[in-house]
Symmetry: C2
Subunit: 311 residues, 2 copies
Amino acid sequence: MELVEKLLSGNKRAAARLITLVENKDPKAFETLKEIYHKSGNAYVIGITGPPGAGKSTLTDKLVKVFRKRDKKVGIIAVDPTSPFTGGSILGDRVRMSDLNLDPGVFIRSMGARGHLGGLSESTQAAVKILDIYGCDYIFIETVGVGQSEVDIVKTCDTTIMVMVPGLGDDIQAIKAGIMEIGDVFAVNKADRDGAKRTAREINMMLDFSKSDWRPPVELVVAIDNKGIEELFEQVEKHKSYLEESGQKEVRRIENCKNEIVDLVQQKLMDMILDKSSKEEMINKLSKEVAARKTDPYSACKLVLEKLRTT
Amino acid sequence: MELVEKLLSGNKRAAARLITLVENKDPKAFETLKEIYHKSGNAYVIGITGPPGAGKSTLTDKLVKVFRKRDKKVGIIAVDPTSPFTGGSILGDRVRMSDLNLDPGVFIRSMGARGHLGGLSESTQAAVKILDIYGCDYIFIETVGVGQSEVDIVKTCDTTIMVMVPGLGDDIQAIKAGIMEIGDVFAVNKADRDGAKRTAREINMMLDFSKSDWRPPVELVVAIDNKGIEELFEQVEKHKSYLEESGQKEVRRIENCKNEIVDLVQQKLMDMILDKSSKEEMINKLSKEVAARKTDPYSACKLVLEKLRTT
């Protein structure tokens, strides 16, 4: 396949084309990925996540520039939230505003979920492989929100930077509970605002309960003014060294592969359940019966499972 | 079962006990739910969601008080974020701070995910049924974040209030894209802050593209000062009337039942995949092979699916 040769020679358009095919769930694209998968595994994957309004895009831009100064080839995957009911992403094709767009050593891509339930995770993971084989030294995955889909994506990363911000109110307690085990490095962005040090202190207090060998650092940064970015870079590199020297990188990658396999199996099973054939018809019929209280959802579930096993 | 009789007679402790059993995935609790499911369907379910820091808890409290003034029996389920890697919720047992705790006509419960992948959705849906049968007129489900798990939960509601807040920065575009189809009523909370009107205007602009018969209203509120809460209540009642008069309530409830059945099937299948037996062993072995590039995740997925079908 010509596309593969171009990709292996570091052709940007070929990478973009293959990612589009993957987003469109083209079976041939996945066949291709199967064939070249063994060439992946060289890129280091960094996740950047945190609540809305934390300034993740700006921080990613500034951090990428530090890697570029060291002449590293970088890929950025900006994950846009789903429009879950139609399955389409309004911002899926949005061009991310950044002067990095002009840098030939940077590949930027926005991705939205086109499918249903977990499809975003599948295509994001495929895009990581493509950018890896394309030759990126570092791949950044930037994602908005604090939910399961974000967690699924973060599970594919080597190092995850959790971006926090002062002024999240009471929800910071809840967010912290949800993210404690996700962040390898914490950044409190907009640190020129009131309450930044308090936010950092609160995060540090939570992290003190961590039982991991790696104690995540908490950096104060003002991304827009480029303050604290070099220090953040250093922390990422420190975490990378820790993973490599402790053997944890291999452990984590095996765990990530497991998550990916389980996600894929789940996705395929969902496709089977909602395959527009007799099963969806059966579910539609059962839904009406459950709504009318003629049966209950647990009995309905059992019937669907039996049907799945026998067809 | 004595517990059932107590629940049917409106005993608060019985409701709390049954929800705990459901959270602990006690099979007997689900058997009980199957038996009494036909008695559910009377409560009206209201989802309250939005990004972190939007002040959802305060808004819920104030809104519930409006319903209480009309002598409605109310249930509140506060969904806490997951700690996805351990499967436990740090805040799962947190007692929600509210003077509503003292009101005998209000049942408050915080719920966190104890299981893996979708378990929160399953137990939340079960809790809704229990509070419905217990006799609540209205059930509020309050959830933090903007992700798939939130969307799953919102799918069980009749009316969903999307709480926004000024100052979310660029992310508001992304959030809006993700939530446009979730909100039936929008509240811009903390409307005494700069930019509130602009936020409302931006949401209205997005909503103008909506093709639904119901055009979601956007209300400016200051929950902490109790401003705009009566107006918000009116909008919820309007949406309720719209659903009832248009026949959309039935359509939506059938759709919700479908989502619940599909969620349950997915959950059971996941339990089967990770059932600690030969399948998990197989996945662990495959994960190592994928990490070592001896095989690829897509081929691994296929093998697991075949195993699932033949055992």
